[in-house]
Amino acid sequence: MEKKVKLQIDGKEVIAPEGMNLLDAGHLVDVFIPNLCYLKGMRGFGACRLCLVEVEGLKSPVIACNTKVREGMVVHTQTEKVRNIRRFILDLILSIHPLDCMTCTKAGICKLQEYAYEYELKNTSFIKKKMGYPIDQINPFIRRDPEYCILCGRCVRVCKEQGTNVLDFIGRGINAEIGTAYNKSLRESGCTFCGSCVDACPVNALPEADRWRKGREWEYTKIPSVCLFCGNGCDILISVKDGGIQKINTGEKPGSTKKYICAYGRFGYDYIEDRTRITTPLKRENDTLKETTWKEALSIIAAKLKEAGNETGFISTAGITNEDALALKRFAKNVVKTKNFDTTLSLYSDIHSMKDSQSALITNSDLIILIGLNPSQWSRVLPALDASIRKRVNRGGKLLVITSADIKIEEAATLTLKGDEITILKAIVKSLIDKGLKADIQLENAVKDAVVTEDIEKAAKLVEEAQNPVIFTSPSLFDSSANLTIIKGKVIAVGFESNSRGVALIGLTTEGKSYSDMVNKGMKVLYVIGEVPLNARPSHTDFLIVQTSHFTELAEQADIVLPSTTQYETEGTIIDYLGRLKKLNRAIDPIGTSKTHRDIFVAISKIMKSPLKKPSENEINKLIKVKPKLSFNPFIRRDGFEIAPREFIESINASVLRGRRLAWLKEAVAAIAV
């Protein structure tokens, strides 16, 4: 139990945990101390000086963001003295600030504006100066306008903490500014355009590039949802106005840097209305795809499915909701009566690894062990995992990397062990057993020949000292990794799609032919759901149905194309890689006549006279509530899962990446790489 201390802030009694700062302690009793540079969860930075408060018994004011609570402390946050100080500081800031709130994008959620109002400053009392900094706006994501910058350093700190390290303070005195190395544009500075800095900036120095005149903050309806573009399944907050998405932020309060989303999640949404978007069903007529009605399209499909029966195959992405997955499974099994239904999950994982992965929080873990995985913000393979691990390390967590390849995240590791992952895992287990930690006899036998080197010894020590280690492993190494948790810790196999774990738990896993079989050998009728890494119509396929939101190469070869909704136009749930149930909410109406996957299946089932019920919340909850059982399994590497993660993720998001902004990014990255 953490110790609590009692203190008084503005006459209110506060019981706060030991070690908490005064700013956070104030929040506990609704005393909000002005601050511009504080970032919750990080050490007080002390730059803005706005949070100065008086503490009885101390001569001069102290900064609340960096002063720990003490028993019996009496704090005053609104004395004439500190109010004067704040007015003085704001006055100084305003003396080099554009102050054009009437047209400024940030108006309404700008902290500077809020405090100027509160402290009655219409303008500066000094002679106003313009610094004349150039604006960086050559990328379509972020407009960097240093003229508005108040040098709070929040952007610098978030960017550093997550390991991207693009921004820093440069220059001195009045000419100090935030810049990049050699003051190049963001594009040339290794920026990943994650936009973490956008969320962190309290003023208008780093808004989204296209935000201006896309509505004021208070006009937006905010809809919390989940990004389905990759295996991280990040929380997002969608701002909607006039039926359109205006921007997306992390699913956190503005100014919080707890959560991360990547450029795909933040900026990829403009693909919704890309010209490749399918708005009506299409059917093949004389070798070309022609628009048709839902009614006609569905009756053709119903007839084909009835005819093909168990010679029908369904292949789907694992980036669909639990509800869609369950509907699809029942549709295939009970309506079409085929056992051939599988997802792209089977390309990179077995079912047991997904089903038996545990739940854990990175923020609670003091040791993260990464085995055979290469998360990277730069290649956008599980970028949120990469960022979260780096943040954790920067807040005092440790990182042990076990890998046979050279990977970027090693730079953040406390210790990296290079070589065959299984050999290393065995040796660590052996070393732990040698140290006297309890294991079972099977495990002991399995590792008795392992060789413990000095490095292994070090790794074992890290595990021994950790309270709460969490292992992230590639699915092919799940069993071997899980053996370590017989001694200590939790294990999670990480899939590459947002609902990898969900589809496994729901059971959208084939009982007949596998995904690869269906693709390689073809099916009489092949029904493809969502975007899959498949560009050519499999041979020996008599009839191809593609149900997706955007035109793909495969769709062009289909006999029928059905328009489905995107992740912003549907609702449902997924299980993210950490094992948490997350809820998608519908932010905008479906474009054109597109429908959710499950609505389409229900509609076809009706035509096939075997009506399907939409899955209920209860059913889903029951299916996903399984307690993983872990016991000893031989140390093996499962094969057959050797996909290239980056190419895989890019291909399942091909149409997202064709969106205006992400297409620019792809080109920019390619241009810089050469």
């Binding site: 720990k68 100080i85 800031i93 220059g171």
Partner: protein, 592 residues
């Protein structure tokens, strides 16, 4: 009869710059060539020594014949031959080149503890240091003393940090010892960013081993096994000599594993800083070693608890460390008695400005400003009147004549509106404009502000703008009050010492020389006739002999007149450069 002759050539940065290397080489050449040692059966050798604080007289050379020391000043290589022939061989000093009583006076009135070996021993030779008792203190501390014992001696000595703030060193070490950790650091702050200051440089160059020895003792006292010396890269000679010293220590096992044969180990490295003023601030310095931007951070923990790489760290100034071996050897009492009740020992100052003898002076704490300026400094240059002394570097304050008897210690200087700082002391005479002086110092601090915190970054700039307008004749009513308000706010709200003290030069001159500000603002007049926009040059007809000297030097072609008749200055064209004023031999030009 055998004679023992030692020739010591000053080779601090000042000495080297004035040609010390060549002078030393010449002496060595003469010794070999003349085959002196064989001829007059003498034992003669020439060596380099560190700075002795009087660089304006460099190259300084001591010729010591059987312990009788004669010092020469301004020696050039071509003068060596005569000194050698007349003095070294024939025993007759070359009188006209002697450094003279001024030099001796300057040194004799000082109390040298930190500087006692500077200018005396060969800084590149560990044996030279050992010969004067070097490393006895470290050996004793490591082999015979318990950490608590060392801490107690330092506490009792009343030694306070010489880097500026004057924090009691013993207390700092005590905290450092008390905190348990597998890794702890000792850091020596040799950043010395104050313009014009060179006390730390002189010690690092002239007696590097004393700093290392102090650090070894600190390491033992705080049970720390690794250390850094942070030196600015602009001090290449200091870096080189410290590096040599560390290597020599490693060879002798004074540094490294199991030093002096004990079970205590201490590893010491040099870190070269990029040389920003603010990097001298303790937290900025540690960030800089960590490879980050040198920017101060607020202290949630004291450095003793979480410093470099979040490990417990004890950081002291060069001079602070250099005092330590002497305290261990001579005892806490001896050191304490040198100073005042609250501050023990001596302090080195860098005396500069309009004083006759400029250079490094080491004096006991508690001495008065008057004694330093008049007795050691030899009074004001050129018979002018003393106006003020600025202490504490760019963020210090100006102390007026009325307060010349102020004792030099941390508290008294603070009471007078200034600070001890790291020991800068600039003497200002009647020709100094105090508003302009304040502006000069503020320009420095504003440019060196790291820019992190709002008051220092923007506030000092706003103050500077006000000073700029006052000195250019555009001052307004209320500017004085505005300066005071700004200054007090910046002092109260800044994050680090730089901002907290940045307004000192302005606030202290406002306090003691307010009338000068008023003259600038209300009468548009610069009483010291310094501020260009407020002065005019006129030729006094009655005094002008029509020599034309002024006309010849005027870069703006602003002077009219024919030979032998009074000249005139065209005020429209005059750019107020002052050349004519200096050129006129008849004092016919008036500057007001």
């Amino acid at each position: 009869m055998e004679k023992n002759i030692i020739i010591k050539v000053c080779m601090g940065t000042g000495g080297v710059a004035s040609g010390g290397e060549e002078v030393l080489a010449k002496f060595r050449e003469m010794i070999t060539e003349s085959n002196l040692n064989a001829k007059i059966s003498s034992n003669c050798h020439a060596q380099k020594v560190g700075c002795r604080g009087f660089c304006s007289k460099d190259v300084l050379v001591d010729v010591i014949v059987d312990d009788v020391k004669t010092t020469y000043k301004h020696i050039k290589p071509d003068m060596v031959e005569r000194i050698f022939n007349e003095h070294v061989i024939n025993g007759v000093p070359v009188n006209e080149w002697l450094a003279g009583p001024e030099y001796n006076n300057f040194h004799d009135k000082q109390t040298k503890v930190v500087l006692s070996h500077c200018g005396d021993i060969d800084p590149e030779d560990i044996d030279s240091y050992i010969a004067v008792g070097g490393y006895n203190a470290a050996k004793k501390a490591v082999l015979e003393m318990a950490p608590e014992e060392i801490v107690n001696i330092i506490k009792n000595s009343n030694l306070r940090g010489r880097g500026g703030a004057g924090f009691p060193t013993g207390l700092k070490w005590e905290l450092g010892l008390r905190i348990k950790s597998d890794v702890k650091y000792v850091i020596c702050n040799g950043d010395e960013g104050d313009p014009g200051a060179f006390m730390d440089r002189s010690v690092m160059e002239g007696d590097p081993h004393s700093v290392i020895e102090g650090m070894i003792i600190c390491a033992k006292a705080t049970q720390s096994n690794s250390g850094y010396i942070y030196v600015r890269a602009e001090y290449p000679l200091a870096v080189k000599r410290l590096q040599m010293a560390i290597e020599q220590c490693l060879m002798k096992n004074f540094l490294g594993n199991n030093i002096f044969g004990s079970d205590f180990s201490f590893d010491l490295k040099i870190f070269q800083g990029a040389g920003a003023f603010v990097c001298g601030e303790a937290t900025a310095l540690m960030r800089s070693i960590e490879g980050k931007r040198g920017m101060p951070s607020p202290k949630l923990w004291r450095s003793a608890e979480r410093g470099l790489w979040d490990k417990p760290t004890v950081l002291n100034n060069v001079e602070t460390f250099a005092n330590v071996p002497k305290i261990i050897l001579n005892g806490a009492n001896w050191y304490r008695k040198l100073g005042t009740e609250r501050s023990g020992g001596t302090k080195v100052f860098s005396l500069s400005g309009k004083v006759r003898n400029t250079g490094l002076v080491e004096v006991p704490l508690g001495i008065s400003l008057r004694e330093i300026i008049y007795d050691i400094g030899g009074g004001i240059e050129g018979g002018k009147n003393f106006k003020a002394v600025q202490t504490g570097g760019p963020s210090g304050g100006c102390i007026p004549a009325e307060l010349l008897d102020t004792e030099v210690d941390y508290e008294s200087l603070a009471r007078a509106g200034s600070i001890m700082g790291s020991g800068g002391m600039v003497v200002l005479d009647e020709n100094t404009c105090m508003v302009n002086t304040a502006k000069f110092f503020l320009e420095f601090t504003q440019a060196e502000s790291c820019g992190k915190c709002t008051p220092c970054r923007i506030g000092t700039k706003r103050m500077l703008e006000i000073l700029e307008r006052i000195t250019s004749g555009k001052g307004k009513d209320g500017d004085i009050e505005l300066l005071e308000e700004l200054g007090n706010h910046i002092r109260a709200t800044s994050l680090c010492g730089l901002g907290m003290t940045a307004a000192n030069p302005v606030l202290s001159t406002l306090k003691y020389f307010r009338d000068e500000y008023i003259a600038h603002i209300k009468e548009k007049r610069c009483p010291a006739a310094v501020c260009r926009d407020l002065i005019t040059f006129t030729i006094i007809e009655e005094l002008c002999k029509g020599c034309g000297s002024c006309k010849r030097v005027c870069p703006a072609d602003a002077i009219r007149g024919t030979r032998k008749s009074p000249h005139r200055i065209d005020k429209e064209l005059c750019i107020k450069c002052g050349s004519c004023f200096d050129a006129c031999k008849f004092k016919a030009i008036l500057k007001v």
